[in-house]
Structure formats: C-alpha cells, structure tokens
C-alpha cells in the first residue's frame, strides 16, 4: 500500500532537517502505529505524505499503490486514496460542513472517473455516518469546524474519513483531546473501516487508543527516523517505561 524509502525532508524556508531517513512499509489490510517523543517528526511525516507546502524532500521516495506519491498534488493524493486526519483540524468560516464534504467527495469521484453522487444519496449516506459518530445535524450545517470543541473537531475528521473512504488513512493524534466515550466512537469508526483493501497509520502518544484500535505493527520514531519496530507489546513498553530505554538501546 505505502512504501517509504529513506525519506529525508526539511523546512523550505530555514535550513532545518526534520526527517532523516524514514523507512516504512505498510501493507494493505494492516494497521501501523507510530509513537515517539514530541518533536520527533511524526506530524512532519504526515504533512510530507499529504503534500503540504513548505517542506523540501531532499532524498528518498514514497510509493502508494504503485504511483510515486511525491509527484502528485495534494488533491491528486487524496483522489488516489490518501487521507490525513489532522492533529490540528482548521476552522473554515463560511464554508458549510456539508457543502465541503460533498464538494470533496464529488471532486475525488470525478478525478477517479466515477459518477458524482446526487444530493439526496449523499445526504442519506452522510446522515448515517454522522449518526454513528454522534455528530448532530446541527454540526453538519455549521461551517467546517467553526465553534467545534477539540473533541468534536477530531470526530469530524473521522467523519470525513468515513465519507471519503480512503485507502491509506493517516491519523495524527486523533485521540488527543477526546474523552473516553468519544475515543470509543472514533475507534469504532476506524475499526468499521478496517478491511483487506485499506491500511492505517496511527500516530499516537498513548497505548489507550491502541487498546481499541489494535495495531499489527508499532514503530518508534525519534529524531526523524524510525528507530525501532515491533508488535503491540512495544506500545506497552513505551507506556510503562517511556522512551529513555529504547533511545538508549539504539544509540
């Protein structure tokens, strides 16, 4: 699904390297978790994958389902099946949540040569998915994320994911800011999407989320590289001992 090879990236404006040789392979059907200290480059990796401006890729390659991801515009990556649930979802005053979702879905379908969904079918589908995430009609009518609480914004990200049905889903700290019940809803939302044609890369600081979304593989990222890879037990180790031991053992 996703193959990252020796990815080096830094800031365009300053001479700052952030990713220093990331290697990662996520196969279809798998859930991978990435943990790592603050500032280790997890969000940067997700932004570089999604195609955000401001980063320079100096080395390496990213392949998604056979196409060279880094050559594509952000919207082309989305149409190709990439989705990033943002660590900090932005508010977009004046753009209605529903308008936004429908525009996005139809833009992707059009880009893939599929037929656009009509308003009635879209609405039916959206209602159903919103209900599962406990997102009210009123929230759907509001401008994107405007006035949403932190947790509501995160749930709204998962709603977008559920509507767009991407192939490769990256979740950047979707669990932070969620209360216990919301975390369960989000996990259910993710688990409902799990399948043999879809893969997840879940960035998190807490083992707790991984109790609900059980990963196949856990990676530890530090200073712009994946320094250790293991099974779910690796997350437990981090939970109990922090990163100090792991950092020492690979130093």
């Amino acid at each position: 699904m996703l193959t990252i090879k020796n990815l080096h990236a830094g800031l365009e404006e300053e001479d700052k390297k952030i990713l220093k040789g990331v290697d990662l392979e996520v196969k279809a059907g798998e859930v991978h978790a990435i943990m790592g200290p603050n500032g280790s480059g997890k969000s940067t990796l997700s932004y570089v994958l999604a195609g955000r401006d401001g980063y320079d890729v100096t080395e390496g390659s990213v392949e998604m389902n056979g196409s060279e991801l880094l050559d594509l515009e952000p919207e082309e990556r989305a149409a190709a099946g990439l989705f990033l649930a943002f660590q900090y979802p932005v508010e977009i005053p004046g753009v209605g949540n529903m308008t936004f979702l429908r525009t996005a879905l139809n833009a992707q379908r059009k880009a893939r040569g599929e037929e656009e969904l009509n308003a009635a079918d879209f609405l039916r589908m959206l209602r159903e998915k919103a209900k599962a995430l406990d997102i009210s009609q009123e929230m759907l009518k509001r401008p994107v994320n405007v006035g949403f609480s932190g947790g509501e914004k995160k749930r709204n990200e998962i709603l977008q994911m559920a509507v767009l049905e991407p192939k490769m889903c990256i979740l950047d700290e979707t669990d932070s800011g969620l209360d216990v019940d919301a975390m369960k809803l989000v996990a259910q939302g993710v688990n409902a999407l799990r399948g043999k044609d879809r893969a997840f890369l879940v960035i998190t600081h807490y083992q707790r989320l991984l109790d609900h979304i059980v990963p196949d593989v856990v990676h530890i990222m530090a200073e712009g590289r994946i320094i250790k890879t293991g099974g779910p037990e690796l997350a437990l180790e981090v939970e109990h001992n922090g990163y100090a031991d792991i950092l020492k053992s690979v130093a």
């Binding site: 955000r52 919207e75 989305a78 879905l105």
Partner: protein, 429 residues
C-alpha cells in the same frame, strides 16, 4: 477656499453636455436649478478632491464617454425566479414594451418625468432633497448633476406591504450610451418594500436613488451591477430614516471598468437600523470604490457597513467609510468592516475608515484587513481532494458571504450566492 477653475469649468462642461429638462412643474424646475447651482459652485470632481484621491473621476466626467461594448452572455437574468414587478430600462431609457404594466397593489408608482410634471406633495418633499442634504459635509457633484438633468426613473410611494418587489432591470445595448436615472422612494409609516436592481445599464451610468423611510418603515435593496467589462458607473444612494425604521442595502459587483458607489444614510428618528453591504469580484482593469457616509443624529440606532472585495490581476478596490455620531446620538451602535482578498500580488485594496464621534455613550468599531487566501485552509481543502481552483472558490465565496448574509431575504441571498458560484466556476473552466 476658492474652487479651482478646473473644477468650475468641469461643472459647466457636465451641465452643458446634458440637455436641460423642459415642460416640468415649476417646483421641479427650481429643484433642477438649485442642483445645477450646487454643481456649478462646488465644481466637478477631480483627482485632487479628498474623496476622489483613490478613484480618478476623469472617465466619469469626460465628454463624450468612453465607448463600452455590451457584454454578450447567455446567463439567465438575475432575480428571474422571483415574483416581481419588472421594469426595464435600455441604456437608461424606460421601455414599456419590455416591462410589466406599471402597477402594483400597495404602491403608487409613476415615471419620474410624470411625477415632476405634476404637483405631488410627497415627491416635492423628496426629489433632490436627500441628495442636497447629502452634499454636506462632502461634495457629491455627480449626484447633483443627476438631480439637475436626469429625466428617467421612477417615483414610488409605498403603503403597507406590496406582495412583491419592484425590479429595475438595466440593459445595455449601445456602446456609447451615457445614461442618467433618478429614482425616488417614499416608504410610508409601517410600510415594507423591496427594491431589486440589476444590469450593466449603459456604457456610462449615473444613477441616484433617494429613499425616505418613515417611522416603522422598512426598505430592502438588493442590487447586482452588471458584468460588462468596460462599463463605468457612478451611483448615489441617499437614505433618510425615521424612528424604528430599517434600511438594508446590498450590492454585488462583478467586473466593470469603474464603479463608484456612494451611499449616504442619515438617522433622523430613534431606534433605526441601517445595514449597507457590498461584495465585489474584479480582475484586471477593474476599479471598485465604495464611499459610505452614515450620520447618527438620533438615539439608539444601529448601523453596519460590511464590504468585501476579491481582487485579481491588477484589480483595485477602494473603501471610504465614515460613521459620524452627532452629540445627541447616544446609544449609537456603529460597526464597519472592510476587507480585501487579493488573489495575486498585482492587486490592491485601499481602505479609509473614519469615525467621528461627538456623543459619549456609544459603541462604534471598525476594522479593515487585506490579505491573500489562507494557505492553511487551502491545503486542508486540497487534502480532501478539492482542486486548488475549486478550493479557492470555496474560500472566496466564504469570504464574501459575510456581506451576502446581510441580505435579509434568504431566497435573494441564495440567488446572489448561486450567481457568484456560477461566475467563479465559469472562470475556472
């Protein structure tokens, strides 16, 4: 200070260029003469005038006007879906053939020339009266010219609530037309009226609208200035508001070489509400100027000015907005926002917000911003699969929506939104 000869000569040229109306009642003649005198004494507008610093009036005053080819397009006319009394002008001349019969329950309506040939008391109290009041403290020479010379337009007196709005449709066919239209509207106590205006009107258009809203009356105005790339227009809206009355005016402008919209609002009764809003989108050789003056001379009135301009490829947007609060206008709530969204580095937005407050118990605020599309928002939309062009359109529409939201009737607001969205989408293709 002596008025420069350039301005005085300019005024004479303007007055000489348009024929003096004849055959009108004597009261109308004296109004015309007084207006001509105002213009002759204060002079034509020139670039050096304080309120013309950002907009060169030369192409509004030159003789003959600069040619402007009518813009052919296949769009369905705006407001076409609304039940309305449609009154059509072609190059500033009323066309009975293209219009609905001139009658509507709840209003008295007649062509301006008829109203000025008889002795209608309410018209006497309005024609040229609000325009003249609006000349202090800022000269509005093009409006004075209009009062002195315009023979086209309608006089409307509203009682109660007419079942539908009146829609002036201004068609443009002649590349050299130089048109003047003057409309007067008197909204009687407790009456409620909606006026729609749309169309490019003429190669050069000088329009005045005087609106007198009596106590508890309401006047809603939605206007779309036609899309002809070459047209030029100077318009003056003059409103006087009685107690507890409402005045809401919204203008959409897409393209046009030069547009100067002046709006002068005066609160004369307590507890009035006035919202003046504008949304404009222009590219290239496009200049759009909103010059607004709101005078609070009554207690507890609320005024809002909301102006948004989207500019690209060298387009220029100007906003000059003033709130004047007189000493006795306590509890005034005045708000003003003007914002420019620049889609490239070539465009410019200039704002001159002014507050002049002589009362002590007031809440007035103003803000002006100018910037590019927010890249963070753009990326968020694109990351969901929306193309850059479409994402920009969504953000442009969102930016303009604060002004469009000032339109009270949701159906009319949606009309404007749909029209804008279609224009933007067409641009992309």
């Amino acid at each position: 200070m002596a008025v420069p000869a350039l301005k005085l000569d300019g005024a004479q040229t303007l007055l000489a260029a348009a024929p003096e109306p004849s055959g009108e009642a004597s009261w109308a003649r004296s109004v015309r003469q007084a207006a001509a005198r105002r213009l002759a004494e204060r002079g034509a507008p020139v670039r050096r005038d304080e309120y013309w610093r950002y907009t060169d009036p030369q192409s509004l005053t030159c003789q003959p006007p600069v040619a402007a080819a009518p813009f052919e397009n296949d769009e369905a006319p705006l407001f076409g879906g609304a039940d309305r009394l449609k009154l059509v002008f072609v190059d500033g001349v009323f066309s009975r053939e293209l219009s609905d019969p001139v009658e509507l329950e709840g209003i008295e309506i007649q062509p301006l020339s008829e109203a000025l040939s008889t002795d209608i008391h309410w018209a006497r109290e309005l024609f040229g009266v609000l325009e003249a009041r609006g000349q202090t403290p800022v000269d509005r020479p093009m409006a004075a010219l209009n009062t002195a010379r315009a023979t086209e337009g309608f006089a409307i007196r509203v009682h109660g609530r007419p079942g539908k709005p009146v829609n002036f449709v201004y068609l443009h066919e002649d590349a050299l037309s130089d048109a003047m239209v003057h409309n007067i509207v008197r909204v009687e106590a407790g009456a409620d009226f909606t006026l729609l205006e749309n169309g490019p009107a003429a190669a050069r258009f000088n329009k005045v609208l005087e609106v007198d809203v009596a106590d508890d009356g309401a006047f809603h105005h939605v206007r779309a200035q036609g899309r002809d790339h070459e047209r030029r227009a100077v318009t003056g809206t003059f409103a006087r508001l009685g107690a507890r009355s409402t005045f809401k005016s919204f203008t959409l402008t897409v393209n046009g070489r030069l547009t100067r919209n002046e709006c002068v609002v005066e609160f004369t009764g307590d507890d009035g509400i006035a919202h003046v809003a504008g949304a404009c989108v222009g590219e290239g050789d496009f200049r759009h100027d909103d010059t607004v003056f709101v005078t609070h001379d009554a207690v507890n009135c609320e005024s809002r000015q909301v102006f948004k301009k989207v500019l690209r490829s060298g387009a220029m947007g100007i906003f000059q907005g003033k709130i004047l609060v007189k000493p006795d206008a306590q509890k005034t709530d005045g708000y003003q926002i003007s914002q420019g969204l620049l889609l490239d580095d070539d465009s410019q937005f200039l704002a001159k917000p002014e507050l002049e407050i002589y009362a002590d118990d007031v809440a007035c605020s103003h803000g002006s911003t100018c910037g590019a599309v927010d890249e963070t928002l753009l990326f968020y939309l694109r990351s969901r699969g929306v193309s850059r062009g479409e994402a920009e359109e969504l953000l442009v529409l969102a930016f303009l929506d604060e002004a469009i939201a000032e339109i009270e009737d949701p159906a009319l607001a949606d009309d404007i939104r749909a029209r804008l969205a279609a224009w933007l989408a067409r641009r992309r293709r």
